[in-house]
């Protein structure tokens, strides 16, 4: 019964149902009266450079490379702790080479970028309610930053106080 009207089985939208069917012609075909000839632009592989916000997005995603890099640095260091003082000293020395320092500086900036973007976007995903009312996004973000400062201080205290 639906088929009587739609021209395309099961399509609720008559005009478009027909259009989709007819627009299935190959690109570059000659125009035929009563048939649409849509123009579709293909997206460039460099789409993420075309707009500031897209570039920022890709940069944000690529901070994950820095995260993975440091995760392996940490693992390397912990492994060295298990291998004895010499192995550990070797790791520390390697981290001090100019190349490692440059990589670490760049990575550190990326990690900070990750932190800032993560905290700023977190309120969008997290709906926090206190007695039925939604907590405003900036308060959620502020709580994140407060936790960040606190946890950083705790970690620093463990590291810096480890010798005592």
């Amino acid at each position: 019964m639906n088929g009587d009207m739609s021209g395309g089985a099961g399509l609720h939208h008559v005009g478009d149902g027909g259009m989709t069917r007819r627009a299935g012609l190959q690109p570059g075909h000659a125009y035929m009266r009563y048939h649409p000839k849509w123009y579709r632009r293909r997206m460039s592989v460099w789409w993420w450079l075309q707009k500031g916000s897209y570039a920022q997005f890709v940069l944000r995603e690529l901070t994950s490379v820095a995260v993975a890099f440091f995760a392996f640095i940490f693992l390397w260091q912990v492994w060295a702790l298990g291998q004895g003082p010499q192995a550990y000293a070797h790791v520390v020395a390697r981290l001090g080479t100019p190349l490692a320092v440059v990589l670490s500086v760049v990575g550190f900036v990326l990690v900070l970028y990750h932190t800032v973007t993560w905290f700023n976007l977190a309120p969008a995903a997290m709906v926090v309610r206190v007695s039925g009312r939604r907590v405003p996004g900036w308060m959620v973000a502020a709580a994140n930053y407060a936790a960040w400062v606190l946890l950083s201080a705790v970690v620093a205290w463990f590291f810096l106080g480890a010798n005592q």
Binding site: S6, G15, Y34
Partner: protein, 595 residues
Amino acid sequence: MSLRYPLRDFHMDIFSCDVLVVGGGGAGLRAAIAAADAQPTLKIGVVSKVYPMRSHTVSAEGGAAAVIKTGDSLDEHAYDTISGGDWLSDQDAVEVFVREAPTEMLQMEHWGCPWNREPDGHVAVRPFGGMKVQRTWFAADKTGFHMLHTLFQTSLKYEQIQRFDEYFVTTLLVDEGRCEGVVAIELATGRVVAIAAKAVILCTGGCGKVFPFTTNASIKNGDGMALAYRAGVPLKDMEFVQYHPTGLPFTGILITEAARAEGGWMLNKDGYRYLQDYDLGKPEPKPVLRSMELGPRDRLSQAFVKEQEKGRTFEGPYGHYVHLDVRHLGQKLIDKKLPFVRELCLKYVNLDPVREMIPVRPVVHYMMGGVHTDINGATSLSGLYAAGEVACVSINGANRLGSNSLTELLVFGARAGRAAAAFTAEAPDASSSVATQAHDEEAHLERRFRQRDSVRSGETERIATLRTEMQGVMEQSAGIYRSAPTLEQGAAQLQSLQERLTRVGVDDRSYTFNTEITSLLELSYMLDLAEGIVHAALARTESRGSHQRTDHPDRDDQRFLAHSMVHRTSSGQPRIEYSPVTITRWPPGKRVYGR
């Protein structure tokens, strides 16, 4: 598969359905759903020149009236409506309207409309102009938007409702006194199709665009009114044109009546609440129902003209204006109940109503008149129905009350949907002449728009020139105040515009989304209706509601407690007749506000 009727040397697509709704706005979607609910086996088509969510219902702001609170009564709603309409409403229709309104509004609630609520979870109501009791349901000040999207999204679950989006209807298919469908242009391809149906429901809204300053969207060209009129169906009460007192100058953007209902003031250039000079009550700091700023729209718009005559209005680049002041309501209330007012002011006139006054002027808002229907939306043409602003039942009489139109499109959209569904049971299938008629219409369109010689012979005219002239004529002759000389002049000017219309040239010969052809068709629709309005206004030598004659300032119940009926004669000129108003329980009285 679409049925393809072999016709001479080419094929034409002919679709068929049981009930075809023309227009995908509030009334159209409500009608389609009602028909589907009434008889689930029916095939229902919705053909619209825009995607349904673009329909003009979306622009309605303030709310929708229905009795639900204790302390209110159906009779009070009926009385407010009838007195607001200056006793030109058919009272049997009003009684049906107020009775079915609460159910329809509850149905909207059940379908998910985000009504504003009381703290206990019940639906909240707000005051509105001309209403004695608070009974206006609202979804902030985007009520029409929420209702339209709720209806549209709900309609998606009905598999039997099939849409023809962006199809422009050019004519009704009529054979042996019965409407059997429509001919339409598929805009994306230029293909002309016939959609045969056992019953057709017109839900195309009003024709505000015949006037220059209007809250109406560009698509409000009275398509359905003209289609019916050309098919021989009379138009009723066309002289009654509602001016909304608070539109933004230039754009005509609507500042909702809710702004006044929440406590906004109308101030002239001396900062004076001038409505107190026009028998609308005394100014109070808080809004008083049926008083001052909460008077009916016709009276407020008329007061503006009087103020202008007294030289007490501001003069700006787009004509005279006064101020709407909501500053004293405070940011909190404005953001909660009038957020759209603030958004529109900030975005479109770069002022913040929290701190500044809003410039406003009366702008054309609503057609009380329309296709003559009975209480079920049936027209005088068998198989043709109408509902919503396109129709005139009439509940609105000589002046519609704010917040009755959204309710009207639900109540009468549903009634028309059910009536059309019932009609299909006894209606035979469309006759074989459908194909011939559709082919003739296609040939006609082709000749008119794409054969260079027929269009380009002699002098050509531009669509926009004619449209602008028509709008000017309408404001001059059929504005807030009218008189015989200006109306006669207007009628003559419109007739010459009709002649010039035949010389309008079309530059665009494309078959793909040709908006020049549709603009021209819309202009031709509007010119027919403009003539209907002017002739009906000329014939009614009295003043009633929104129809004010300076040469006949009083209401004349002896002669004009009657609906005007505009018939199209064979020459194309309108002929006016009258039919009686149905009075049940409320004999004509004096309209009293502010007391």
